[in-house]
């Protein structure tokens, strides 16, 4: 496979800013970055460095002011809101710091949620959800509601929800930020397994150096600029 074919995320001269109090505040400037298929990349940097903004842009939940952002050859900056929603549903799996599970749905229903946007039958959805929850070690917690699960277990449900549709990329925003050390290690182990054994491309934002060790590549951001980010190999 050529290098170009192996590149999953292609970012060129990306810029993003916000307006606060009538003043333009640049958050990202001239970002150029390639992420290869099957990579486990960690974006690090101090607060306000723009790492979460970059993650949001890659995940298609925010739009850049300028530049190009291609995922699997598709320039997602050109997609409409509706097209982006469909694109996210089939290409992106989200893992948030605070899990963002629906409190009124049990583990099974939370994981089933993204599958409602597919054409799978009820039986197929059930099979897939059971398999995914078993993969994250929660096969026996399917009927439990989020408030009946520990933080680590909730994050594992969130991981199951993120991977149940078999997305192209997993985006993780501080996935261990709200967890104790043991639970964090469990979550990182699952992410490593997903990357190593299943070839999932993972883009993770973290402050935690220990968590960053799980990644294969570290990219540092500071004041909206990339620091020493070699292209994907």
């Amino acid at each position: 496979m050529t290098e170009a074919a192996n590149t999953l995320v292609e970012i060129r001269h990306l810029a993003k800013g916000y307006t606060r109090g009538g003043q333009a505040v640049p958050v990202l400037e001239n970002i150029t970055l390639d992420i290869a298929r099957g990579e486990f990349i960690c974006l690090m940097g101090p607060s306000g460095s723009g790492k979460s903004t970059l993650l949001n842009l890659i995940a298609g939940i925010d739009k850049p002011d300028s530049g190009m952002l291609k995922v699997d050859g598709e320039d997602i900056t050109r997609l409409s809101e509706g097209e982006l929603a469909d694109w996210r549903a089939s290409n992106i799996g989200f893992i948030f710091q605070f899990y963002n599970l629906m409190p009124v749905l049990n583990a099974f229903e939370n994981v089933e949620l993204p599958l409602l946007l597919t054409n799978l039958s009820k039986a197929e959805r059930r099979q897939r959800v059971e398999l995914t929850l078993a993969l994250v070690g929660l096969g026996d917690r399917m009927e439990h509601y989020p408030n009946e699960l520990s933080g680590g277990q909730q994050q594992r449900v969130a991981i199951a929800r993120a991977i149940v549709t078999d997305p192209t990329i997993l985006v993780c925003d501080e996935p261990t930020g709200d967890l104790d050390k043991q639970s964090a290690n469990d979550v990182l182990a699952i992410l490593r397994q997903l990357n190593g054994e299943m070839g999932k491309t993972i883009i993770m934002v973290t402050h935690d150096a220990h968590a960053a060790e799980a990644a294969r590549r570290l990219v540092h951001l500071d004041k909206g600029e990339l620091i020493g980010a070699p292209a994907a190999d």
Binding site: N56, D62, R88, M102, V104, P114
Partner: protein, 386 residues
């Protein structure tokens, strides 16, 4: 199914808040239903009027009588099938608060013109044979525990004296819209009294009830009857029974309008309450709505969730409110206050109005929260702490 389940679970997430909102809705829908029923009751007499019946009264005012001999002249007008007469009695049963309409009627044919009153033939015959006999409607009989054979004392006001009537018949209504709270007795009974005591007031009646052969010709017949008595001492005004009844309602139109306004104000207040509940709910769940949008759900789905929740709240409240309207209306009808109304039945149109008002409350309450939730930027929503 999943969508409904999610809405249902969301509705009862903040149990206290949802319960209080539902209680508010129940009270509002119940109050709305009862007030509408009061308005219906006001119009019950007019709505139950027959298209084939007309009423002739003194053209000056209802309080002025007409000579009973007009009857034969009215009967001779082409298109008139039958004529009967009646007189408002206005007596007091034990004490003034026991109000019910009392009429002295022509026993020979009055009830033949009212097929909606269902009699036992032998009872009606007994009434016709007894000069002091009386006929009462079922609801009135139930209200005072009367049965056939009971003697009812009534103190006259317009017709002075202590009168005694023996109940000879109790009639039922053809259906629930038929008024059965009246008390009838023989006009001949009071006329004989007047002939002896106040001869100048004798042989006078309050209104003629006229049955026509063709309801399509009532306007012509009315004109012909009134022309018959033009320039007489007691000129007449003939109108359909419905117009006659509506004339009474018109006298209290301001009250009816006030009741209607209050009933709609109640709905507007509860609309504000539910809108407040939905605004709080939606604000607390912005992070969840943003998560759903991040997962690929459309803004329309998020809006539908908010609308669905508001609608479910409204319909649960309305459902309970509607179910309670019937027993509460029955209880009111049976109470002394309810006796003021001839009928007090919750109509189908009232129920539909209750449902429509609940749907309106749900839609309006959800409008702004749904719009905001559906259009929130995902990154802003994800930052939101509920």
């Amino acid at each position: 199914m999943y969508f409904i389940k999610l809405i249902f679970k969301n509705v009862f997430r903040a149990k206290l808040r949802s319960s209080l909102t539902i209680v508010g809705l129940v009270i509002a829908v119940l109050a709305f239903g009862l007030l509408q029923t009061v308005v219906d009751a006001w119009f019950a007499g007019a709505n139950a009027a027959s298209a084939a019946r007309m009423v002739t009264r003194n053209a000056i005012s209802l309080v002025f009588p007409m000579p009973v001999y007009y009857r034969d002249r009215i009967k001779a007008v082409p298109g008139v099938k039958a004529v009967s007469h009646s007189q408002w009695f206005g007596g007091i049963y034990i004490e003034p608060k026991n109000f019910f309409p009392q009429f002295a009627v022509d026993a020979d044919n009055f009830f033949e013109m009212y097929p909606e009153f269902i009699f036992k033939p032998e009872e009606l015959l007994a009434f016709k044979r007894d000069r002091q006999g009386a006929v009462v409607g079922r609801k009135l009989a139930e209200q005072y525990g009367w049965k056939v054979g009971d003697v009812v004392p009534i103190r006259g006001t317009i017709f002075p004296g202590n009168w005694q009537f023996t109940i000879r018949a109790i009639f039922d209504g053809k259906d629930e819209t038929t008024v059965t709270r009246q008390f009838y007795f023989q006009w001949n009974y009071i006329n004989e009294f007047l002939l002896k005591r106040f001869p100048r007031r004798a042989d006078q009646i309050g209104v003629f009830t006229i049955e026509v052969t063709d309801p399509g010709r009532v306007a012509d017949i009315a004109r012909a009857i009134d022309a018959e008595f033009k320039n007489s001492l007691a000129e007449t005004l003939t109108e359909t029974e419905k117009s006659f009844q509506l004339g009474f309602v018109a006298q209290s139109e301001a009250i009816v309008v006030a009741i209607r306004v209050v009933s709609f104000v109640v709905i507007i207040i509860i609309m504000a309450v539910v809108a407040n509940t939905m605004a709080m709910t939606a604000r607390e769940r912005l992070a969840e709505y943003a998560t759903l949008k991040a997962l690929g759900f459309s803004p329309g789905f998020v809006a539908a969730l908010v609308f669905g929740e508001a609608m479910m709240l409204a319909l649960i409240g309305a459902g309970i409110g509607i179910l309670l309207t019937f027993p509460v209306a029955q209880g009111f009808a049976a109470s002394p206050a309810g006796a003021a109304f001839a009928t007090f039945n919750v109509s189908a149109s009232t129920v539909w109005l209750q449902v429509a008002s609940a749907v309106l409350v749900g839609v309006v309450a959800a409008l702004i929260p749904a719009f905001r939730s559906a259009n929130i930027r995902i990154v802003d929503g994800l930052r939101h702490v509920g």
